[in-house]
Amino acid sequence: MVEKRSDRERESILSTAASLRWEVGNDLQTSLMESIYQNASRISDQVVIADKSKARLAWEHRLEWLLTSRWTGFPIMFLVLAMVFWLTISGANYPSQLLSGLLIEQLYPVLKTFGADLHLPWWLSGLLIDGMYLALAWVVSVMLPPMAIFFPLFTLLEDFGYLPRVAFNLDSLFQKAGAHGRQALSMSMGFGCNAAGVIATRIIDSPRERLIAMITNNFALCNGRWPTQILIASLFVGALAPAGLASLVSAAAVVGITLLGIFLTFATSWWLSNTILRGEASTFSLELPPYRPPRILQTLYTSLIDRTVFVLWRAMVFAAPAGAVIWLVANVHFGGSTLAEHLIDLLNPFGVLIGLNGVILLAYVIAIPANEIVIPTILMLTVLSSGTPDLGHGAGVMFELSNNAAYMAVFKAGGWTLLTAVNLMLFSLIHNPCSTTLYTIYKESGSLKWTVVSALLPLLMGFLACYFVATLWQL
């Protein structure tokens, strides 16, 4: 009875309200807001004493104009991003060498000797030390230094207030592609690490636009893929130019691939929002915050803990088992040759059809956990299949070489051409995201279906792009 009565009471309130609404008119909301604005303005006039001469510093005005105007905004944006990449690539070089010298040249032989002293069976020491340990050592030495430079730099830009300006500049382009303007931010994060970029899509409210941002984040060339691009570009593309221009030409090739990635981000976003993820781009108000001096120490702390260590840990968790698999396929024999050789023979016809080869495809299959170990795996597999073991460290052991001539010798032995190189650069940009990123997409979207789409869509696009180039090439 009581329940009934209160139900009636509530409904009567609502019907009274509905009828009173006619009397007060439907501009009530507007007049209420107006009264709030008036009071806010009145109070602030009474309590704020502003020294007009300092109101907004002149340099801030000039900076704002430079960073967001039509003619200077984009060039400055490219310069800043290029600067960050250049600092990352060149700055990471030395610590990377230091780490790989420590972990691979010094600790690795020590571990091997230790294994031998313990009388470990050859397969166990192979699996643990040649497989898992080396994969981990590679991921740490290739991934840690660039991340430890890139993420703090990026966070400093964020703290200073530059990132919202990037989003502001790119907003109209993303809107035209049917995506959210904030995707500019998650895309920029993707240049460091796609897994981090996918996490950054949390800033996008609409689930449709967030999915678009997650699926296309892969087209932002990540840390793990920069070394591949730079190595292949300088070996094959740079070699085409006269010696003085070689480094400039190879740098241009890498920038070209990066821009192609940005173009694909827009194109794929547009395609998705007109097909399987149809919908209007939602509007959002983006306030340009004031420029603030970045806090260096705090930035270092949060970017190291939140981003670098987090991403590195995930990559290591995936890389260790991958190392074991890589060692296994190179060392399990049946029918007179290794499992890897069988698989390479199986993949080779398709690989050649799309201007790559069986080795590269197999490397991309077994190095799914981390793009960092693709080049070492390709080297190891090439040596294994071309029968030139004197070039490497022995069967099934991943390795990296100290100079370009040595790389070239391995690639020549594997029958590589300029087409192979160009297509490898393309395929490195356009293929499935690494398993760390896929796992992150699954965690963030909670959907197996969209995770599968994120994996297969770029893979298919990569096959098509490579096939297209190979066909044109052979005309």
Binding site: S6, T16, A17, Q46, I49, A55, D159, P164
Partner: protein
């Protein structure tokens, strides 16, 4: 400028009364909501009070869902919830809905409104809207350092009198004013410092008549409802969410807390 500034910035100073609890908040004596416009430094205030390292960034909208943490001050346990930044409480976006729902139905003991000192007028739009729905609030006038740099001074005593709530100037990035903020939150929660927020919304005589009728009915159906006037206004404005809260009786929980 300020003789105590050196002490306030010293990290040892608050340790006397403040214990940062991070996320270890099983039970608490008081619930504190942290609201405000985007990019006013709410997360910085939140981190300073809880000792957590919620990622802060100089761009609006990075606090995606609400973050929770706690601290112990003067032997009382405070649980503090960092709400997403919003420009209004009209519930037109997901963020605004999260923030408004928490302030309405989460029944915080104290709502700390973080405002940017250099952009007071625009921030006050939200402050006035929040004061419509809550009894106990503290205005944290943050980024005072930036305001000083831009030559802006604020008469905080007058502002406090105009709004009817305590106003604490801070520069959370530098740790300035956090002690005063803590003490004010504590005093408001304990009831030793009273608030009587000014409610300005006025309108035509038709409106006040309609309001009287509705408020009467609401108070009868939901005895103890403290912000009946605000609910009546939202009903008159046709706010779907509030209509639904009346229909399913969720509004009762609001009344219960104050009754």
């Amino acid at each position: 400028m300020n003789p105590n500034k050196g002490c306030e910035e010293c990290p040892l100073n608050p340790a006397e009364n403040l214990v940062r609890l991070g996320v270890k908040m099983d039970q608490h004596d008081f619930l504190v909501a942290l609201a405000g416009n985007p990019n006013t430094g709410k997360s910085t205030v939140f981190n300073a009070l809880t000792g957590l390292h919620q990622h802060t960034g100089n761009w609006p909208g990075k606090t995606v869902a609400r973050a929770e943490g706690g601290f112990l001050y003067e032997k009382k346990r405070f649980k503090i919830v960092d709400l997403p930044g919003t420009y209004s409480l009209l519930s037109t976006s997901h963020d605004e809905e999260i923030a408004r729902n928490f302030m309405l139905f989460g029944q915080p003991h104290v709502t700390v409104i973080v405002a940017e000192a250099s952009r007071l007028e625009r921030n006050l739009n939200l402050v006035l809207q929040i004061l419509e729905i809550t009894e106990r609030a503290v205005l944290c006038l943050n980024l005072m350092d930036e305001a000083r740099r831009h030559g802006i001074q604020i008469d905080t005593a007058k502002l406090s009198a105009e709004l009817g709530i305590p106003v604490v100037p801070t520069a959370a990035r530098q740790g300035e004013g956090l002690n005063a903020l803590l003490k004010t939150i504590h005093d408001v929660a304990m009831g030793t410092l009273s608030c009587s927020p000014k409610r300005f919304q006025t309108g035509t005589s038709d409106l006040s008549e309609a309001l009287t009728i509705l408020v009467g009915k609401l108070e009868k159906a939901f005895p103890g409802l403290s912000n009946a006037r605000w609910v009546a206004l939202r009903l008159l404005a046709g706010d779907e969410q509030i209509i639904e809260a009346v229909r399913d009786g969720q509004l009762q929980s609001l009344a219960g807390a104050n009754g």
